[in-house]
């Protein structure tokens, strides 16, 4: 089967190359048949890659260890859920996932736009297939996912324990969907520049894909944050790690893009900016994949595979140089049709928001690549930590959130004092009330930044509520609908607008959760034995008892803690640390079960007011002596079994292993029967849950904006679009007449 898989990849590569040729020839010669054939090559590519992906997935599900990638990333004891996801824990599998998702999204956009953007589509097809060719080239020539082993091992290595989390099913595919979806507006922007069709047509064809990319990338980022909060045992959700930053950068520029294209659609402005922004976003998405996969910023680590660095750098350099070249080449056609009328207008708010988002992206880019920059400048590798990132990103985030509140409240073109007063009075009053009320809460003024930020969030949420209320009221009068019905139909008929407002409110709530939880968080490291007590932020915490479990996959040491406040029971928390057996024989027959990879399960009581978070770090050193004794005993017994005959007695060996399992369980039970002090980290984090609530509201708003409008609404949009197109055409013909 591996041979079939590899053959499918070779076929896919050939199909992609054919598609590029057919599309470009069709575009140059004007022959539609070739263009259609190029588009169908994308459909064929999606079909072939679906087969290849299914083939590899099947090998994982049936634990076929003759596939090298299966043997090194899965095992028979890996639960089926994780067998299915292990495919993208490997370098080869994740590259295959990338190109497969790209082929699916490309097919979708080309199918939907098959009767529109006729001049642009063939070039966009060639660009999308160019990406596919690059990744297929890597898969065929460098990282073959269908490589086989001469002798299939009896058992695989298993999925890295740290990757065993429900988010493993959704986090990587969501991120990769985000990255690949951003390549679609990128490709159409390149197409528009090459074909010199620089009106809003290409934006209209791909706007929804940019929004989908933004949404998927957002889902991926949030799932990753949640994962590290509940699993990795350090109590944080964001660490400014290069891999995290890699996903945030295209998300920021993508956010800027989905706002600034509105100005191009409505007023024909910012054409150069929009083209540059999406070209940068597409490049950053590839850079994200590169950072995750190349290990360039982690070269001190022994586990990174950095063989892909050079091809990726060539691709990124091509994208950067090509993008700059294209924008310079078409700079005349990219001139704005209008000028900014006033600094007090929605356009100006959008432009400022765009500048801030791009500035934030630049800060993160600089900090992420600083080790490479400093090495190039000073010869010594230097890195900046979270405080450096926080220093710059916090004020920018303040300003961005304030603009999410102001933007929807000021009109296009020019605001007057009267409409500013009408629109801003309620949100400003809400902010003032919130600030005064919070100032009365003891301790809040100790953190003035968080306090001020809460005022901004009140302003944003009140602004969104005011807009929804006004719209609902108008609809009630017009359509004679009851209020809840009017609200639903208001949002249904203006999904993009109100979905966007909901995103604004959700994002403000999310950042409020970040501001409050990080400012008022209390944490404590403490060593306790069962029966011991400690206190943190007004809570009494008692270590009730130790627990242990010896399973086929891992040995688990746990602790049950009771949390009380003012004598009342608040929560019972269970936290564990699981040790997966190491395969390193030098660690000893018993010792290898206690010295392998470990993963923490956090004890978490989440609440709207605060999260109580606890993790245990059991110290296994007191077991070391008995483990070493076990190693010696069983090594001697193993030698005697092996000496007894020429053929090792399988039954005796099984009995010996059964005895060893009992011994291991006995050793682990000492954690419960003769407990010794264990280290705990306790965190009380106010309003941390609002991060996740805010994220859900944000993503729900994004999904509302993405959902196709009902038939009536679509007609309206189409009519507005047709009017714009007519204006564009009239302008082009005027220009042509002028030239003539």
């Amino acid at each position: 089967m591996a041979g079939v898989g590899h053959a499918l990849l070779v076929i896919a590569l050939a199909v992609a190359l054919y598609g590029i040729g057919a599309s470009l020839h069709g575009a140059r010669s004007g022959r539609r048949a070739w263009v259609d054939s190029g588009r169908r090559a994308v459909y064929a590519l999606a079909g072939v890659l679906t087969l290849a992906f299914a083939l590899l997935e099947a090998a994982f599900l049936r634990s076929d260890f003759s596939f090298q990638v299966v043997a090194s990333h899965s095992s028979t004891t890996t639960p089926a859920f994780y067998k299915a996801t292990a495919i993208w824990s490997s370098q080869e599998g994740s590259l295959l996932l990338w190109v497969w998702l790209l082929s699916l999204w490309s097919s979708l956009v080309l199918f939907l736009a098959r009767r529109a953007v006729r001049e642009i589509a063939p070039y966009a097809t060639a660009v999308l297939l160019g990406f596919a060719t690059f990744f297929l080239g890597l898969l065929v020539f460098m990282e073959n996912p269908f490589a086989t082993l001469a002798v299939a091992p009896a058992e695989g290595v298993g999925l890295n324990p740290l990757l065993r989390h429900p988010a493993m099913m959704f986090h990587p595919p969501a991120l990769y969907s985000g990255y690949t979806l951003f390549s679609i507006p990128f490709a159409f922007a390149v197409g528009a520049l090459v074909a010199n069709r620089l009106n809003a047509e290409w934006i209209h064809a791909t706007r929804r894909f940019a929004l989908a990319a933004w949404l998927f990338l957002g889902v991926g980022i949030v799932l990753g944050a949640r994962w590290s909060y509940t699993e990795l045992g350090w109590g944080g959700y964001w660490a400014w790690d290069p891999v995290e930053n890699a996903s945030l950068m295209p998300w920021l520029t993508g956010t800027a893009f989905i706002h600034s294209i509105m100005i191009q659609e409505k007023r024909g402005m910012l054409k150069t900016w929009n083209a540059s922004l999406i070209l940068a976003t597409g490049t950053l998405a590839i850079l994200g994949t590169f950072l995750v996969r190349s290990g360039i910023l982690d070269s001190i680590h022994a586990f990174g595979a950095s063989t892909l660095g050079v091809p990726f750098l060539i691709l990124i350099a091509t994208m950067v140089v090509g993008s700059i070249g294209l924008v310079l080449w078409r700079r005349d056609a990219l001139r704005s049709e209008h000028r900014l009328d006033s600094l007090l207008s929605r356009e100006a708010a959008f432009i400022l928001q765009n500048v801030l988002l791009v500035a934030m992206c630049f800060v993160i880019f600089w900090g992420t690549f600083f080790p490479l920059i400093s090495e190039a400048v000073t010869g010594s590798k230097s890195s900046v930590g979270p405080p450096w990132f926080d220093r710059y990103t916090t004020p920018v985030a303040f300003a961005i959130v304030a603009l999410t509140g102001i933007g929807p409240l000021i009109p296009w073109r020019r605001a007057t004092v009267r409409n500013l007063r009408r629109n801003l009075a309620v949100p400003l009053a809400a902010a003032a009330v919130a600030l005064v009320a919070l100032a009365l809460v003891p301790g809040v003024l100790d953190e003035p930044k968080a306090w001020a930020f809460a005022g901004i969030v009140a302003f944003v949420v009140a602004g969104v509520a005011q807009e929804l209320w006004r719209g609902t009221r108008a609809r009630r009068v017009m359509a004679q609908e009851p209020a809840p019905m009017a609200l639903v139909s208001l949002i249904r008929r203006n999904r993009r607008r109100y979905g966007g407002y909901i995103v604004h409110a959700g994002f403000a709530v999310l950042l409020l959760g970040v501001a409050i939880s990080s400012s008022f968080e209390r944490s404590k490291d403490v060593s306790m034995q069962p029966g011991d007590r400690t206190s943190i932020a007004g809570y009494d915490v008692r270590y009730v008892r130790a627990t242990t479990r010896t399973g086929s996959e891992k040995i688990v040491f746990g602790a049950v803690l009771e949390v009380r406040k003012d004598g009342r029971h608040v929560a019972t928390l269970t936290t564990t640390r699981g040790f997966y057996p190491s395969q390193d024989p030098s660690l000893g027959i018993v010792g290898r079960f206690f010295n392998g990879e470990a993963e923490s399960e956090v004890g978490l009581r989440a609440g709207l007011g605060r999260d109580i978070w606890v993790v245990v770090a059991p110290d296994l050193l007191p077991l070391q002596r008995i483990i070493e004794e076990g190693d010696r005993t069983f090594a001697a017994a193993m030698r005697s079994v092996a000496r007894d005959g020429a053929d090792v007695d399988g039954e005796a060996l099984q009995q010996l292993f059964a005895l060893r399992d009992q011994a291991i369980a006995g050793v682990a039970r000492r954690w419960v029967t003769r407990p010794w002090p264990a280290d705990f980290r306790l965190i009380v984090s106010p309003m941390a849950t609002w991060i996740w609530i805010g994220a859900i509201i944000t993503l729900a708003g994004g999904a509302i904006a993405l959902w196709p409008a009902p038939a009536g609404g679509r007609r309206k949009v189409t009519a507005a679009y047709a009017a714009r197109l007519a204006r564009d055409l009239a302008r082009s013909s005027r220009e042509a007449a002028d030239v003539a």
Binding site: P153, G233, G304, S382, E597, D661, D679, R681
Partner: protein, 156 residues
């Protein structure tokens, strides 16, 4: 005022602001950045009181824990046999183990001392998505199937 002149002034103001802000960014990153050093470099030239980022692999067999303090040695990737002893407190990320690459912020405990005191909670290990299985591990699997734990053998 002439609109084109007004636009030019706006552009100059915006560019000046951008240049000033970027200079601040560049300056603070160079002054706040902590140098990544290997164990050998720190043993040779680290000054007590200065903070450095020590990067390298945790020496197998060197990890000890006592009274909430973690002791280990970090090997120099370029100079075999050279390693620095580290005293670490605070949270240890799950991926930490012997033989794994880590980064930790340290200060030398005294002039000429081979002991480095780590800043609390400063340890960084690699994102689990990047761990790859070493090829030797697979070779070992093929050569020594009996080295597997019994439950895995039974399942296989």
């Amino acid at each position: 005022m002439d609109p084109s002149r007004k636009r030019r002034i706006r552009l100059v103001v915006a560019l000046t602001a951008a240049v000033l802000l970027s200079s601040a960014l560049v300056y603070t990153s160079f002054s706040a950045g902590s140098d990544e050093k290997t164990a050998g470099q720190l043993l040779d030239s680290a000054v007590p009181g200065e903070t450095y980022t020590l990067a390298g692999t945790v020496e197998p067999g060197s990890v000890r824990r006592a009274d909430g303090v973690l002791w280990f040695r970090i090997m120099d990737p370029n100079r075999p046999g050279v390693s620095a002893r580290v005293r670490y407190t605070g949270l240890v990320p799950d991926p930490f183990r012997e033989g794994r690459g880590v980064m930790v912020k340290v200060q030398r405990s005294g002039a000429g001392s081979a002991l480095f005191i780590a800043e609390k909670d400063s340890m960084v290990t690699k994102c689990p998505s990047k761990f790859q299985v070493a090829p030797e591990e697979l070779e070992r699997r093929q050569a020594d199937p009996d080295g597997l734990p019994p439950d895995r053998r039974a399942a296989a």
